[in-house]
Symmetry: C3
Subunit: 640 residues, 3 copies
């Protein structure tokens, strides 16, 4: 158990060296202890091939470390310098449209390119050799935001070559592949692995097995890319290695990169995400315009706690308006503090703000920092400082296992994304809606990978877990708490076909999905007693008794308090009923929190956060907008 700390992202190469020292002192004075540097500095570190310039970094480390700051050193592999393209002209990623992308921004590399991989190994080794034991380097970040800007998938020649080898290894023979993919359909059989192309630019949709295998391959490429640098650094340093993942990024399996790293960092931009990547009603988008979705941060905190096997950071915390969302409003005063505390309450070891000083040049010049471009304090600086002070007065926060587990699976996301069957069906959206309902009930949640231990969770949910392994199936069937499967759970085999017997096919649950249907936005299927199914409904049969029915009498939730199947995508009201039923089954206390109010438990405390723009009363408390309350369990709040 560690006391969590605060930090910041810093780019010494953007500023006159004269200001570094002042910056370092101001960071320390603000109560920040971590500083991340170096992640995009390849052209400063190696201005020409093999001509290294480490001096400036030496000096920066010295100045920062001398001020008492601990440095996270980034490998600069997300931004290869321009000269790299002279060595490897074909290292650039290729879009689904078949066009090679160009130099001039970032992430301009293909994960499959062997030549670029060797360059990454080289720069990681050079950095590791020089700084692996450096007294001020306390952690390493590898690359930056894998998969961001849709870069997990590249349709390059390198990818094609790699994909063919990957398929050969997976299937051994082309006839095995033809069988596995069901290539008898539409005469899609191949005679050799060399005939297989990437699944873009087909006349109509390609075989979903083809697409999903390409998603798996592409994920493996990210894992391997990361591993190359891990392997280069491990012998040279004993400091923890981490990566900063991006929110709602499903391009690769984070659990698998996570296994090779020590800490999972993630980059939390609550307002940007609500604007550009979350499903929410127009009224919620307006209500939470300056606060972000009340559950998005918590969801990712819980996810990355799992990815990091307990050790996780917020590597980049939004401190003000950003530059990249369709619209970029400023946070409500107090929200930077609230977001920080939400992370801490979820067990973050560190929360680092991105970035120290707003850059007046380049792509992100409209991205706020803790300082304005002229060095004056921006709004967030005081809030960061306040959290630092509050932290210093607090005992270390002790995480606890949550009563509820929610299973999250990247492979299922790829399967559903490949054949959503309804234009607005998103695996992430379904799981996130379940999570939101759990939060509205005031529950703390652990997110689990499909092969994580189920421990003693009172409630386990596995919505949309399309690929449902036999092992997990057996464990869930025997689990002692309440398990809720569906919709779509177990709907595909690993070869992306419909399993026989029909899903969910779980021991102890006499129920099967007869057929499924997707529904357009204006349509809904009302449930008896309140709430509706939206987007998706399944017709199920079997002896499992209906716990909730649709108004026309079909089972909507069927089974028992041990194991139940949910036959559709519930709306807000539907989810609330299901969660309350499950909590009642388990004797768990389920709240009905006011809109925008959220809770999170640590061992000692219950935290209450107010995401709404008004003072909110609840349970005798009056919580101001952006308010954070913390009180010992079962007791009254002791602060705002």
């Amino acid at each position: 158990m560690m006391t969590p700390e605060l930090g910041v992202c810093y780019y010494p190469e953007h500023w006159d060296e004269a200001v570094w020292k002042v910056d370092a002192q101001r960071m320390a004075e603000c109560g920040l202890t971590w500083v991340r540097i170096g992640e995009f500095a390849w052209s400063q570190l190696e201005p020409e091939p093999d001509r290294m310039e480490f001096d400036w970094l030496d000096r920066a480390l010295d100045i920062l470390g001398s001020a008492g700051l601990k440095v996270i050193l980034g490998t600069p592999t997300a931004t290869p310098p321009r000269w790299m393209l002279d060595k490897w002209p074909d290292m650039l990623p290729v879009g689904e449209d078949g066009r090679m992308r160009r130099f001039g921004s970032r992430r301009h590399y293909c994960f499959s390119h062997r030549g670029y991989l060797s360059e990454c190994r080289r720069i990681a080794e050079l950095l590791g050799r020089r700084y692996g034991q450096h007294p001020y380097v306390h952690a390493w970040q590898i690359d930056n935001e894998y998969g961001c800007h849709d870069t997990a998938l590249s349709y390059s020649d390198s990818a094609l070559e790699g994909f063919r080898i990957w398929l050969q290894q997976r299937y051994q023979s082309i006839s095995a592949l033809n069988r596995a993919w069901g290539n008898a359909f539409w005469s899609m059989d191949y005679d050799s692995f060399d005939q297989i192309e990437l699944p873009n630019l087909t006349v109509t949709e390609p075989n979903p097995a083809h697409t999903v295998d390409f998603r798996r391959f592409s994920s493996d490429q990210v894992v391997a890319f990361n591993k190359v640098q891990v392997d280069a650094l491990r012998p040279l340093t004993d400091r923890p290695l981490l990566h900063n993942y991006m929110g709602r990024q499903l391009g690769f399996d984070h659990f698998r990169t996570g296994r090779d790293l020590d800490i999972a960092g993630w980059d939390s931009y609550p307002i940007g995400f609500l604007s550009d990547r979350l499903d929410a009603s127009e009224s919620d988008k307006l209500r939470f315009l300056r606060q972000g979705d009340p559950d998005c941060q918590a969801f990712h905190h819980d996810l990355y706690r799992a990815v990091g096997d307990g050790r996780w950071w917020v590597m980049e915390q939004q401190p003000g308006p950003v530059n990249w969302a369709p619209w970029n409003p400023a946070p409500l005063p107090g929200m930077v503090r609230l977001w920080t505390w939400e992370a801490l309450a979820h067990g973050a070891e560190a929360v680092c703000y991105f970035r120290w000083r707003q850059a007046p040049f380049g792509q992100e010049q409209n991205h706020a920092g803790l300082l304005r471009p002229d060095g004056a304090p921006a709004e967030a600086l005081a809030e960061a400082k306040k959290v630092a002070e509050e932290l210093s007065e607090l005992d270390p926060l002790q995480p606890i296992q949550a009563p509820v587990a929610l299973i999250f699976d990247y492979e299922s996301a790829w399967v559903i994304d490949t054949q959503p069957q309804g234009a607005d069906f998103s695996y992430f959206g379904l799981v996130f809606d379940a999570y939101r309902a759990l939060r509205r009930a005031g529950l703390s949640v652990d997110i689990l990978s499909p092969d994580a231990a189920l421990d003693s969770y009172r409630l386990v949910l596995a919505p949309g877990l399309a690929v449902f392994g036999q092992n997990l199936k057996a464990r869930l069937a025997e689990h002692s708490g309440t398990v809720i499967l569906g919709p779509r759970t177990g709907s595909r085999t690993p070869n992306v076909s419909i399993p026989l017997p029909l899903p969910p096919a779980v021991p102890g649950l006499d129920c099967q999905v007869d057929f499924v249907e997707s529904l357009p936005p204006a349509s809904r299927i009302p449930l008896e007693g309140g709430g509706s199914f939206i987007r998706w409904a399944e017709s199920i049969s079997g002896a499992a008794s209906a716990i909730i029915r649709t108004e026309s009498g079909h089972p909507a939730l069927a089974g028992s308090q041990s194991l139940a199947y949910l036959a559709g995508w519930p709306d807000h009201g539907g989810w609330d009923r299901i969660i309350h039923w499950a909590c009642e089954s388990q004797g768990l206390e389920a709240h009905s929190l006011p809109q925008g109010l959220r809770m999170r438990d640590t061992a000692q405390y219950q935290f209450v956060f107010n995401y709404s723009p008004e003072t909110t009363e609840w349970n005798g408390l009056r919580i101001p907008p952006a308010g954070v309350m913390r009180h010992p369990h079962r007791q009254k709040a002791d602060g705002t």
Copy 2:
């Protein structure tokens, strides 16, 4: 006059051979008599170039035929095997974006490719030779769904080469082409046919004459492609040849392929079409979510009756949720029966369900069949069986000529699609709105090609018939019933220019279009007495007297009970007035059917169909949702 029959689409190559016999027996038990096979099985029939494997097909035919089923054998040319690309790497279609498409789905060929044409001739001959006189092969299907997935147009080198030759044959000299196209405009003159390119990727829109000629050329390529297989099969078989057309597919002239075939099949997906290709109000889309548009099926039945010169089938009938529309709800119980009866009432010789058993693999694994993937009956099986039973108790249905003719012309569709002049102006949409109004009035309709005989139709409509041949013009002017032209009828010459004198220029109708205007969705021009023009209005002048006027006094419908011109696109209310006026002119009975109720006459019976989700009362009848009533003309109903 034949008794209509039911059938099913089957893919023996998808299933273990052991199950074929059981499948065949179950089909027969259900009352199905036709089974279509083979259409996508090229890689099973010819796994390597020139190595044929007919044995499995022999056995499948034997098993199906022995069970009493009649086989429609498909040529597999919609899915060339992967090895074909090694022989003809440039046979793939090229999109409007100039990108060649890839192997990995279906319809991956360019209609203009000479090499692929020779392959199609070869496989058709091989099949014809082996199965042309086979006792169980009772019909042939050529290819599958020409034009589906936007494949009628290909911007390939083969197409370019063919297009230049086609132009040379049409215009003989480049100066004739320059004159015909009006290339004096914008200095677009060509010096030789070799300079002409395909009309994609221009800076702004290309010459409409250029585009329309490319549409004509592309249509001719489809006709020629089909003809190659017809010519290969004719000497080898005396069984009827057919093609299964796709709904709302305007990429080529179906009347012209139809002339080379014996039967027109079409693939009817009522729910999919309402979701992905029909204009309908949001409230109608919701109301008919599980039933499909009440007029879409009937329209295509009437269209393909014309394409097949009286002989037509539903080759693929939707039996449950499909996989390919944006949203895919399940049919209301009873709709599969209703759809089947609507087809039969329109004179279908056969209705085949697609498909027998839902495939658990490949692109269409979410497409329902009569059986579930595990072989258990799906919802539709019982409905198909019920229709089979009902059919067996019924005298053969005797078609009659409808009192109303609606002219449909693919060339006019291309002309209007090339220069719609209003973003939401669609030729199909205009004709379909006219058809809907005729159906709301309870009328049976025949759809005619522009050169079909006009017979003794009491009412003839030719809305949007942009290219209006002199021959038809003369015949319509002399026709004894009520003829309604317009809007846009006769608005373009065959060279896609404005004719002089100005349209419609029909003898006996003293009226001309002075100018036209298109209207955005929020705008309308009210008609005196009810209804409005939407989308389109024309200012007409001349001595023809106004039958209906706009509220500002301009003629909206002008002329006489013999020949009238409609000067805009009426809304629902406007169309109803026009149809009722025309019926009154002709002493035809025009109903005002309740929403969702539709009728169709055969010689003996009047059928009434209820597409609405509620029981509907009309004329003393109470018709349940999805209800089908059939009663002798002028009598009370005898069943539901």
Copy 3:
């Protein structure tokens, strides 16, 4: 001071020579005095390389001139003939998608192509030599609608080559470029100019400095292209040279092409522009469907008066429905007259209608003319004739300097377009909203380039002037009237970075922008006392006193009656308050005109125009729809 005249665009090459004479006589009879010809006739003038055919043009000039018409002769460089591509296959423009465009429409050339430039010089010289002193050629038009169809930007190899040279000239050394662009960000440093590519097809957004420099370069290419023809013609003719600019075309700096020309023409399509390129509420789009936006024409008149340094024409005036907007309704009767008078009241020397006779062939066959395709008068002919008659009875209109100046800057448009920071933030839209508010207040406005003299304007607005030169800044700070800056004024340096000190940094205005935010459409920030900020708000600090505040107390407009800063994008109500405050500060009369009513002052007259579809009462006047009233200042109207 000249008496303004009317004219028309004519294409003799489209018509049988026999009709030319009649056409010329009818033009003259209508009161037209100008006729533009030749602009797209290259293939008629030079059917083969170097084989000139001037005879037809000689005859056309003779016929037109003999009828008393003055000819504007166009250079045909917007439509190079097909044979040109055999000489210069790479002269075609390349889209942002990297695809080369094709022959078959117009504007199919890249401004950067040296070979095509030499052809343009050649044809201009040939024309200049033959017609430079021709008695009937009274003016020259160079090319047609630069930048239309998004052609100002081309991503061709010629452009790439030119861009590298342009950058080298601008920055001299690559390290200077790296510094200026801030390439330390994301390791974007270049080692040489040869490494720089065009800013398309990057993984995520390119450096804004890179993009803006490409916009500047592209604008310079247009200026240079135009200059080549100017330089070719000047020695050969003493007649004025002009170009016909397109509405809302921001692809290049019109002020800079304007300096090389004598007259600025522009092409005014009020109904087309409202449909396809203006921001307006749905209700306004409906209300002004047949009239066009009440301010769009006036805005461009004022803009092109500045571009032409006082000498400007409407070169193409919409006379009826056009063919190119999403929807193309017909004008309300009277609007062609109203639009013409609005132009004359703004000081147009001539208004020419496009086109004489509607072409029955080619891309624009649905574009109305003064005559129908059959030569009969179209609706607009009588309105044109009426204006000609009215003009003949009127003293020459004497322009006056407006009391209000609005600064317009193409470079700022590029900067904001490159990083709008809010999805719906448009520089043009912001300036136009300011203009609309000035018009609602009944004010006449002069639009100024940033380096124009500020003279004695009582009110100067510079909204969104992102790049705010030191010279202008100093002049505005000292200006004696009321100056309103902001939002975003001065927010970027010429190198497209955030300036230090923070903006607006104007002497005499103690105020700075602390941070900015963009707002989605549903969001607004109410102002105390009425009106709101929409889309954009800035948090400002400093001693400048708040003139208007937001409801939460932040300054919305701050400063003094001399110099104020506007910290957001006001809505209709907000702008009205600001304009009325400014007018009050200056003792200027500010009206609150009824919706659709607009005014414009000349030295002698006040014109009142009614753009609304109903008779409108105001100030004792009753003005019919499309009505134009003209009365001596401060007196009652004398006509409708």
